[in-house]
């Protein structure tokens, strides 16, 4: 009996000792590691499952490649070469899950967060990150309100929607004028949720003042699989320009159906066209030919941009603007940490606010943030030429001249 009770006492003691050791291991070691210069954690928060998972996965791939690139180049030099470590989070295409992931990243001790592709999620995650003072660099979300709410921690490297639409319309006028104003009439085809209807509303307000007559605005649901009626309507109205504002599948199906029905306007000109990507171009080069899209894109001539394209393709992925922007946002954060010489969140926010980073491959010039928005950020016009995406406007970064109007054959 006494032997048994002594074993029990011993077990309990061992248990207490074991638990204490575990507690020290859990609570103590990370602190020691941090003090000794372990990796710097960066939260990469994207919707990698759910309806927008394609874009989320592309963003994640770009961001991870950037982490690898920064580490391969020697890490954060001002902190003794400390490496970056990605803390991955899946927002599951839902704002509430995005917020839960921000809370997790906060407790994981991230220095900054890059993400989350979608505007609806960004509105929630930037707010959640602000509570903890974590710098949140928005990679893609274009809704202007993201940077208009006075959140000091929120930065957007790419352009916002207003700036994109302004540039796209100004470029359209210049391209049209340059070709002798062949386009006068427009038809808008848009999906009926936030992105498409917002864009259609803006275009309906702005195009008449620029000398374009909007013949008709056709909304459609997402998903829509049969565009025959819409293509026939376009054929009947015979507009000079068709401006689609929809997501990947609908964009591609519309272009394909228009070609099948023999609808050949002078141009298909999209702004942030959902399906205007290399996957579409490679899979259906004839359907995609000559489409013009005003979108985020890197400077195709830049050596680092070319390298990223190769690395992305080596992974079996297509290079898309999501890869580019997420990649550069991580490098922007790395540059801020480098200058902050610290992983202190407030110091990183300050360094981002003062950022004048020119080492990126986007056609923006050095970064300059005003209320969190990078002032130099701008989209470019791309056109599907020779089965590839070529930058055709503005001239300072163009690698080819726009083919406008497109050949009628």
């Amino acid at each position: 009996m006494s032997a048994r009770s002594s074993t029990r006492r011993l077990t309990r003691r061992r248990f207490v000792a074991g638990t204490s050791a575990a507690a020290v291991a859990v609570a103590g070691f990370p602190a020691i590691l941090r003090a000794q210069g372990g990796p710097i954690k960066i939260g990469l928060l994207h919707p990698v499952t759910g309806p927008i998972s394609f874009s989320g996965l592309q963003c994640r791939a770009g961001a991870e490649l950037a982490v690898e690139a920064v580490n391969a180049a020697g890490g954060i030099k001002s902190l003794g070469g400390r490496k970056l470590e990605a803390v991955l989070g899946d927002a599951e295409s839902k704002p509430d899950v995005g917020v839960a992931q921000v809370e997790k990243m906060n407790e994981a001790g991230v220095a900054a967060i890059v993400g989350p592709f979608a505007s609806g999620i960004a509105l929630a995650t930037t707010q959640a990150a602000a509570k903890h003072g974590i710098a949140h660099v928005v990679d893609v979300g274009v809704v202007d309100q993201i940077v208009e709410r006075g959140l000091a921690n929120t930065f957007r490297f790419g352009p916002g929607l207003k700036s994109i639409v302004d540039t796209a319309l100004s470029n359209l006028v210049k391209i049209n004028d340059g070709a002798g104003k062949p386009a006068k009439t427009v038809m808008l085809v848009h999906e009926d949720s936030a992105f498409g209807s917002g864009m259609a509303k803006t275009l309906n307000e702005r195009l008449p003042a620029l000398g374009f007559q909007v013949l008709e605005t056709i909304p459609h649901a997402t998903p829509t699989r049969d565009f025959t009626n819409i293509a026939l309507k376009i054929k009947a109205a015979n507009p000079d320009l068709v401006i689609p504002s929809n997501y990947n599948n609908e964009y591609i199906l519309l272009a394909r159906t228009m070609r099948q029905q023999g609808v050949r306007p002078k141009a298909i000109y999209s702004i942030l066209g959902g399906g205007a990507n290399l996957k579409f171009i490679k899979e259906s080069p004839d359907d995609a030919a000559y489409i013009i899209d005003c979108n985020h894109w890197f400077d195709n001539r830049n050596a680092e941009a070319k390298a990223l394209r190769q690395k992305t393709e080596a992974k079996g992925l297509f290079i898309t603007y999501e890869v580019m922007l997420a990649h550069e946002c991580v490098r922007l954060v790395a540059d801020a940490i480098e200058r902050a010489k610290s992983t202190d969140r407030a110091a990183i926010v300050k360094a981002l606010a003062e950022s004048t980073w020119a080492g990126h491959f986007m056609p923006y010039g050095p970064t300059k943030f005003v209320n969190g928005q990078n002032q130099g950020a701008r989209p470019v016009n791309l056109q599907v030429l020779d089965k590839d995406f070529k930058v055709v406007f503005p001239p300072d970064v163009a690698e080819a001249k726009p083919v406008f109007p497109m050949p009628r054959t």
């Binding site: 990698v48 499952t49 998972s53 996965l57 991955l88 989070g89 899946d90 599951e92 839902k94 704002p95 509430d96 917020v99 839960a100 809370e103 997790k104 906060n106 407790e107 609806g120 509105l123 929630a124 707010q127 509570k131 903890h132 809704v143 309100q145 709410r149 006075g150 959140l151 009926d192 949720s193 936030a194 992105f195 498409g196 209807s197 917002g198 509303k201 909304p219």
Partner: protein
């Protein structure tokens, strides 16, 4: 009496948790668990006690969310007013849906389809109407402070949702004990028999759906205040309708604690999936789905039913000994 004590105990256990929990992750987890429990309590009133399976509770949830958002973002009114009017709006939409469905004797899958259709109609209307912000949705101005029903600290929302869940539990308890609840259960069990005994099935079902819609409306307003953004897909999309019915089905339909247990189980499951398989996109959701199928297959009366069976066996075991 035992259930009332259970609710009191639940409140006592939950009340100090924000102070005890150092982790904001777990606090956020609890807030979302309580939030979906509230939505489940709403569904449970008409689906659990009344046996009217709604597939479109997003219609009432979304109405509440838009009520809060439109009043603040478009009309510049106080957040608390939006919050107070959300149950009225949710209840009113539920009243219309209920009146039209029950008046024409829609039951079972027909009722489910009609509710689903109403949510879709509202989603399309919200997509096209100007005052709802169309497809772009509505953004509520960020202005932290209890006066604006925005809490800088997550615990503010925790106490708000906890209070609402406790009120919902008390309401469920009242339904179980009241004459109204007995009529509602009678309609669920055999509507024709209940009518033969003089129960006005139409009025009872209508009252239940209005009550349910009002609670879902409150949940909508809470969601709008938490994330300060509402769009047609978030508010009226099928996700919320599915969450609303899944929680009480897993927890135990027509029971007071079913929605709370269901919400806790589902969120723990989903969180465990994320923690274990979080790095592989989608695998956690697949695991979640498999476990859900297993739960629904083997626990037809939900977790509350399982607990009852375990308790019965335990008591029988003690009696045998």
């Amino acid at each position: 009496m035992r259930t009332l004590a259970g609710i009191a105990l639940f409140g006592l256990v939950m009340l100090p948790l924000p102070a005890l929990l150092a982790s904001q992750v777990w606090l956020n987890f609890l807030v979302m668990t309580l939030f979906f429990a509230l939505l489940g309590i709403a569904w449970n009133v008409v689906g659990g006690y009344g046996g009217q399976f709604s597939f479109g509770h997003a219609a009432f949830f979304g109405t509440g969310a838009y009520c809060a958002a439109v009043l603040q973002a478009q009309l510049g009114l106080a957040a608390w007013l939006g919050f107070a009017l959300a149950p009225v709006a949710g209840g009113a939409v539920a009243g219309v849906v209920g009146f039209l469905s029950f008046r024409y004797g829609l039951r079972g899958s027909y009722f489910a389809l009609v509710t689903l259709a109403f949510a879709e109609v509202l989603r399309i209307l919200a997509n096209s109407a100007g005052f709802t912000g169309g497809g772009s949705g509505l953004l509520i101005k960020l202005a932290p402070g209890a006066a604006n029903l925005q809490f800088a600290d997550r615990s503010g929302f925790y106490y708000l949702v906890l209070a609402l869940v406790i009120a919902g539990l008390l309401l469920s308890l009242w339904i179980e004990r009241s004459r109204f609840g007995s009529y509602l259960v009678a309609v669920r069990e055999n509507e024709d028999a209940a009518r033969a005994l003089g129960v006005d099935a139409f009025a009872i079902k209508l009252r239940a759906i209005v009550l349910s819609g009002a609670i879902a409306g409150v949940a909508g307003a809470v969601y709008a205040q938490m994330f300060l953004y509402v769009d047609p897909g978030l508010a009226f999309g099928p996700t919320m309708s599915v969450e609303a019915l899944l929680v009480p089905i897993v927890g135990g339909m027509g029971t007071v604690f079913g929605p709370v247990l269901g919400s806790l189980a589902l969120h723990l499951l989903s969180e465990a999936g994320r923690s274990v398989l979080g790095q592989a996109p989608g695998l956690n959701l697949a695991l979640y789905g498999v476990l859900l199928v297993i739960m629904v297959l083997f626990l037809p009366d939900g977790l509350v039913g399982l607990l009852r069976r375990v308790r019965r066996r335990f008591l029988r075991g003690r009696a045998d000994a």
